[in-house]
Symmetry: none
């Protein structure tokens, strides 16, 4: 028993999009312990899809398709799979109802071309798509062959995989042993420096420990294979604890923890509120903080002070400091933090000012130079300087600025506990 | 004549790495106008690679391999291709010399395992690797079949492709024509509705027209094949113009245009400035606007008014309206827009307020309900209601809110021109 991933889409063959679906499914199959030896990409073309099916059923028993479930004429995955197995399609009234309802909920009407998405092969069952209009199918067209189809839109595919496909596969007796992993997250230490500190753990077989570089963070994946998730967790725990002891405050959380969620939790625990004053990030830190549902209990808002005039007029930043030290300086970052804290009457204030690039650098202030200020409940301010370098690009400098601000506040909040 | 990309590596099947090589080669083949109908991924396994070769030579004439050229025992691409065609390997002294030289240049000695990288099939020629130790091969093992191998390390592969492979392909008479495409971008119309309007163009052969769904936008790719880019552009132009006429204001730009860049250009042309007041987006619109270097010439900043207190105190939103109509209402969106415009003294103001979810919905106000207000230079305000639905998730609702705000302003700015 092994699985094969078949991605359908001429846009993949033209290189218009990166095939992230394939990696996602590969990771998921690995986690379920389901062997997976081939991945194939083919265009929206009946005879080529038939040829791929012919090869795939000779060597794999679970065929996982992505793409080609949309409403347009070039979306022909379902009908092509059905015709390969000489099976007629029927219109599923349940799907029609579901699509109509989704269109109605956004005040639109279903178009005739969407009816096509309700056609499924006789004998197949629907694989529901909670977030989009294109459902997939689960179908056993012949003994020993299981077909599952997913749309190409990654977010819809992930959700359908998690909600339905995984439990279906387990119900068939596949994916019994489990690989469970804890993704440990660190900030304030580089990948190689962290790796050197925990190098003695890299030879371990079960759990395995492997480093990954992430955006604005370093990760260690501690993964154990066992018959149950509980057993795997028991194998992971002592290793994870050892790593936490070694890393200290550089470790900030695991799995779905983010710097934002960790800071939110700390503020909630302290029953304190936060506001932000952003220059080079332009609202990015506020957007990060409000990613968390319920963040309104500790995040009240802020000021996007992109122009110096806004820094002066709204945040009370000293004109002389703006001229003498420049908008990108520790003094201005601290005044922005205090200004927004006073303006919004919060316990904490953060100020960010920097040169995101590619333009705007001066002789003494290179692209990537960022100052972050924090004002505490006692109206004391501190600031820290960061140099993110000029080669990483505007977007990454802005993103790292927001992460650094969150990390600075996190360390301060933990030390005050 | 058509090409097939075959990527070899168990790490791809485990999902440890994303297959960016495939996209790169796909784009390159498209640019050269070499048809390319299949991509296959297979692990480092002799019999499976043989099976993939068997299928590939029956349908493609140029086989492009990546991966499995390293010095370790699991790197077996070259020897496996050779054994498939019953061809012995020989050690190329030139390659040995080249590898030794590379090791010497970094003060190291060549290891015995690197000798393996100098083995190539009899009749093949070396495809030099200027930046790494693993060279590839170019080989015509039988009439009508050309094989090229590249290492899996993207930077090495790219360089070898550009330095040697492209000119080899052209020397064979392939890749003479080019495919050039224009990606046209639309907002305010669904994929199926747009497709129905331009359905008569989908049968066109050259240029071809194909629809894509994107995040917050719909796209049409108009692609032409010709001997030169200029000729391809000439084929595309009338079709693109026809589509623009059909789509009207729903078309907002092509290729690297974004809603943000288009709005920025319109503001710059009008010599006007903008500020934003954001509730549910929490700074996301400001972050989008400041993605563009130089946006400070038209974007001055804004207020993140996440808490109602901030809406009242800083933006002068009427307390009674907040109570009677609610924070999520057209009246509040308009007052936010006007409030931030006055506060920051800009020509235009945008206000966004909505229910991003998953919590916060009321009987009359579902998750996904968003109001966007715009204040114009004459201090007149308008607002528009959007229903993004409750199933698409918090992040997408927030993102679509920002896109919709940009699109609303775009349409107003164009109409004033």
């Amino acid at each position: 028993m092994s699985a094969e991933v078949i991605c359908i889409g001429t846009e993949l063959l033209l290189g218009d999009i990166l095939n992230t679906n394939c990696q996602y499914l590969a990771q998921e199959l690995a986690n379920l312990g389901i062997p997976h030896y081939y991945q194939t990409v083919v265009g929206d073309n009946v005879s080529r899809i038939h040829q791929v099916l012919d090869t795939a059923i000779s060597r794999s028993s679970i065929l996982i398709f992505t793409g080609g479930l949309g409403p347009t004429p070039d979306d022909l995955t379902t009908e092509t799979i059905a015709s390969f197995f000489d099976t007629p399609l029927y219109e599923d009234p349940q799907i029609i109802q579901d699509i109509s309802r989704k269109f109605a909920s956004v005040g639109r009407e279903m178009t005739p071309s969407n009816r096509k998405q309700a056609l499924i092969p006789q004998g197949a069952i629907t694989l529901p798509n909670p977030t989009g209009t294109a459902p997939g199918i689960i179908w056993q067209p012949k003994e020993g062959i299981t077909i599952m189809t997913f749309p190409g839109v990654p977010s819809e595919m992930y959700r359908m995989w998690q909600d339905t496909a995984v439990s279906f596969l387990k119900s068939q007796g596949w994916g019994k042993s489990t690989i469970y992993s804890e993704m440990m997250r660190f900030r304030g230490i580089g990948e190689s420096a962290l790796a050197e500190k925990v190098v003695h753990l890299f030879d371990s077989d079960n759990p395995t420990v492997a480093p990954y570089a992430g955006k604005g963070e370093v990760r260690l994946r501690v993964a154990a294979k066992a018959d149950s998730q509980a057993e795997a967790k028991a194998l992971i725990e002592p290793v994870a604890n050892e790593i936490k002891n070694i890393a200290g405050l550089d470790y900030f959380g695991s799995n779905e923890d983010t710097l934002t969620s960790v800071v939110g939790k700390l503020l909630q625990d302290a029953n304190q509120t936060l506001s932000v004053a952003e220059s080079c990030t332009g609202g990015g830190l506020g957007a990060m903080l409000t990613e968390i549902p319920g963040s309104s209990s500790y995040f009240l808002g802020g000021v996007i002070a992109y122009a110096n005039r806004v820094k002066k007029n709204m945040l009370n930043v000293n004109s002389q400091d703006l001229v003498e030290q420049g908008a990108v300086s520790g003094a201005v970052a601290e005044q922005m933090a205090l200004g927004v804290k006073n303006l919004l009457q919060t316990d904490w204030g953060i100020g960010i000012t920097g040169i995101a690039g590619p333009d705007g650098e001066t002789e003494t202030k290179p692209v990537g130079l960022v100052y972050i200020g924090v004002a505490n409940p006692e109206n004391k301010t501190i600031s820290q300087q960061y140099r993110f370098g000029s080669t990483r690009g505007r977007e990454l400098v802005r993103c790292l600025s927001s992460y650094s601000a969150l990390d600075l506040l996190r360390r301060i909040l933990i030390k005050r506990k």
